[in-house]
Amino acid sequence: MNLLPWTLYVSFAGALLALLAGTRSAAAARRVALGTALAGLAITLLAAREFVPGPELQTLVNVPWITELGVRYHLAVDGISLSLLVLTGLAATAGILFSWNNEERTGEFFAFYLSLIGGVYGVFMSADVFLLFVFYEIAIVPKYFLVAVWGSTNREYGAMKLVLYSFAGSALVLIGLLWAHAAGGATGYGLAELAEGARHIPAGSQIAIFALLFLGFAVLAGLFPFHTWAPTGHVAAPTGASMLLAGVVMKLGAYGCLRVAMPLFPGAFAVCQPVIAWLAIAGIVYAGFIALVQSDFKFVIGYSSVSHMGFVLLGLAAATPLALAGAVLQMVSHGIIAGLLFAVVGRMVYERTHTRELAALQAMPLHRLLPFAAGVFVLAGFASLGLPGFSGFPAELSILTGTWQAKPLWAVCAALGIVVAGAFTLRAIHVAFFGSTGATALLADAGHHDEAHAMAPISWPEKTGALLLLAATLWVGLKPDVLLDWIVPALQSPAFKAVINGGTP
């Protein structure tokens, strides 16, 4: 357990090392990066083995940092953070495997990549809101460079939009945080201290501060109608970065809502619940329909991410124990599946066919040219649909059941989103991979004979990364209780009990 803070230190040190190694050779930088990510993953897995689930945050480090402000360097985990830490380790490793062919400024790429990862680990472990905010902002700037330097399609626009949305969101969080601190008269920025102070704030101000905090974090979680950065950003990003953006960075937002906004102001949250729920439902359905009509393969996945993150937000809004557990499970599940989908589209398909236009892909018999990619995408698509056996199933089922307990109407409307998700996923699978079968495939085979030979075989890092993520989604799908055994006890803490009971502890 006590090793967990080292995920942070290892990541930042790895970033520096990768930068130095990159001046020697790209291969050295890659090895450093992979070693760092594996070390992070190993640390989280070791910690997970020793973890004893319980309702309280288990402190890892707690020392004064800025005494003048009462800020403490306080790292702590419970089952929720631990699940997300393991996800971060997994996504980081897979993302590096899928960036293995990066030859341009490789050292810098992995330096930015690993500092982003370091920030993400930090957010998931912070028990002091100031510290959490610091890590949250550390994760912002690397995103700009990852997308602007190594991205594709309109990358400078996508990068700037992504960063400005995130930073505007974090500005709202900062306002909320400072306001909560000043109005509550808290002496420090610890979660418990702020929550104590928050109780003395008048109800009207509580709602305003809650709205600022929740909205600020939810921008990063892709809350409708502030989600538009996500598809453009994900599409413009290089594969490894889109896997991280969709896989873990969007979870930072949802985690911030769950860890900071809701427990600090349970009363205000109870008032805002319907608004959040309807926005989440709008996001689920709207993004689903938009994904249905995209002509760019990556945009389909980009909008599907927004739609699936809508379920997380819906789970938070419903705030029954089952829905909250489902929301955390969905964060993990979507982190894995989104990574997998982006990996297939961005790395396996795009870098071999050099097109993401569904119409162009339709003309190629990809299921024959890239059978491995097709197989992985079909499985990932099923997982994304929420078919039993994959991680999406227990997650979305718990969210919908939990939401039904709170408001059946919300569950019914959100279930419509599942149907739409089925439609756009199957369409993507069908058009992109099985667009030409039978006789047309033979014709296409003849026509694309040269290209069939030109396509490089799927390399070992891709296979390893894909199998790693597939194994993870199957494992979570078949044995969700492993994660739920961590998550459910964490929801028994007084802070979350207040959230579940609508403000009364």
């Binding site: 800025i66 402000l69 902002e137 550390i138 900062l174 306002i175 400072l178």
Partner: protein, 482 residues
């Protein structure tokens, strides 16, 4: 009155070493020799740095004396830290000067820098209107000269003249304000003025005096709507001169006005109780600076103009810190202005280093800096991100300190702090516009392929970047001084 001149001399040892240093720098360069310009620059900068180091050491020796020389000067913690900061920023400025070869009379340049710093140091310690004005004028006149120092470029002359004209007018406003305050209270000493004002309370004439003083203050701080000189001066002045104007001058100016406004005129601050006072005026200045600085910076295409408008926006935040100092103490403001100064000197240092080898006017001129000099690109990233307030750099902590103290200060400043935080998202856009060419875009074909950095300048920049990171990670190093 029987003034103890020995006491004064002993207390002003730092200033004394600066003046002696300046004269020595001039004397050494006086005889006609065959030394190259570069060598003369090095000698001058080295001697200047030695004088500043001597000043720093004697500053520690003098320590915290309280009122000296009948209360004309006060050497409290604020004065001590501000003077230390001014000397430190001066050292950084000399460090980046060592790398420039453009100046034809390096010894004079360094000597004038030392005189300006002497002025700054006295501004930080003055507790009497007359001395404050004299110190301010010593600093300002030196800065006018520095701004117009590069005789080979018309822009530099324009910068010098513009700065002089605006500065002269604003000094007249301030002096008129001082004279009214003297007329109302019968004293030029701040403690006495405070006592008299507490007895008499606010009057219409006093409000006029306050407004006049604040006009002068707004000019020094480059606060809107008195900012018009800043973009042109930043643009035209030699880079080290611009760095000094943007950093040490700000620190000294804000220290002086902190002392003038709170211990001196604190009784007529107004604000919280709805009374008219100087807080209202400062709030409006801050609002105008925040809005104008941040939005106009978006439209700039020249590196130094972006920095100039960002400086105006930062002046808005600093003005908030001045108001908040009445409630939360001076630490947030001093931390902000000092770390801002380090980042600005650093940014100008990078510009100066690039200018040695190729033009560095437009943002596009920075294109490919990453390949030309990884060191400069890395340092620029640290400085600019600190200006943008990104953790874990010092700019973030400064922003956080000032805004959280402004929230405690009252309703008006609270709202302004919230607005300032929102505007920081706008600011990130133009800061990234500086970093985009430097770190993302490839070099333009017809420019230098590599930019070697002068070792002294390189050490200075790395030191400044390290300082920004260090103060961001351990803000208590600086905050603990108060």
């Amino acid at each position: 009155m029987n003034f103890a001149y020995a006491e004064l001399l002993s207390a002003l040892r730092p200033e004394l070493s600066l003046v002696v240093g300046a004269l020595l720098v001039l004397a050494v360069d006086l005889p006609k020799t065959k030394r190259s310009l570069e060598r003369r620059t090095h000698i001058a900068c080295g001697m200047g740095a030695a004088a500043l180091l001597a000043a720093l050491v004697s500053l520690l020796g003098v320590g915290n004396l309280g009122n000296i020389w009948g209360g004309v000067l006060v050497l409290d913690t604020l004065a001590l830290v501000a003077r230390g900061g001014v000397f430190g920023l001066g050292l950084l400025t000399l460090g980046i000067t060592a790398g420039t070869t453009r100046l034809r009379n390096p010894a004079e340049f360094v000597a004038v820098i030392l005189f300006a710093i002497t002025g700054f140091a006295l501004m930080a310690a003055a507790q009497q209107l007359l001395l404050a004005f004299l110190a301010l004028e010593l600093a300002s006149l030196s800065l006018y000269v520095l701004a117009g120092f590069d005789k080979t470029r018309a822009e530099s002359a324009e910068a010098g003249l513009k700065y002089f004209l605006f500065g002269g007018v604003s000094a007249a406003f301030m002096l008129f304000g001082f004279s009214l305050i003297y007329g109302l209270t019968g004293s030029i000493e701040l403690p006495e003025i405070a006592r008299q004002l507490a007895l008499s309370g606010p009057s219409p004439l006093l409000l006029v005096a306050l407004v006049l003083v604040l006009v002068g203050f707004g000019f020094k701080a480059a606060a809107a709507p008195f900012h018009l000189w800043a973009p042109d001066v930043y643009q035209g002045a030699p880079a080290p001169a611009a760095a000094l104007i943007a950093s040490a001058s700000k620190l000294a100016g804000f220290t002086l006005f902190l002392r003038l406004l709170w211990p001196g005129l604190g009784g007529v601050a107004g604000g919280g109780n709805g009374m008219a006072g100087w807080i209202t005026v400062v709030v409006w200045l801050a609002l105008a600076s925040l809005l104008l600085g941040n939005f106009v910076a978006l439209a700039q295409s020249k590196v130094r103009r972006v920095l100039a408008y960002s400086a105006i926006a930062h002046a808005g935040a600093l003005l908030l810190g001045v108001i908040a100092a009445g409630w939360a103490g001076v630490a947030p403001l001093l931390y902000y202005v000092m770390t801002y100064g380090v980042a600005t000197v650093g940014a100008f240092g990078v510009i100066a280093a690039v200018e040695r080898h190729q033009p560095c006017v437009n943002l596009a001129d920075l294109a490919g800096l990453r390949t030309k000099s990884p060191l400069l690109a890395g340092c620029l990233m640290v400085f600019v991100l600190s200006l943008a307030g990104i953790p874990p750099l010092a700019g973030f902590v400064g922003k956080f300190l000032v805004f959280s103290s402004a929230l405690q200060a009252g309703c008006m400043t609270g709202w302004l702090a919230l607005l300032a935080i929102l505007l920081s998202a706008v600011a990130l856009y133009y800061y990234l516009q500086i970093l985009k060419p430097a770190l993302v875009l490839p070099a333009q074909p017809d420019t230098a392929t590599r930019i070697p950095v002068h070792p002294v300048a390189a050490i200075t920049l790395v030191f400044a970047a390290g300082l920004i990171l260090l103060l961001g990670l351990w803000p208590s190093l600086l905050l603990g001084l108060f």
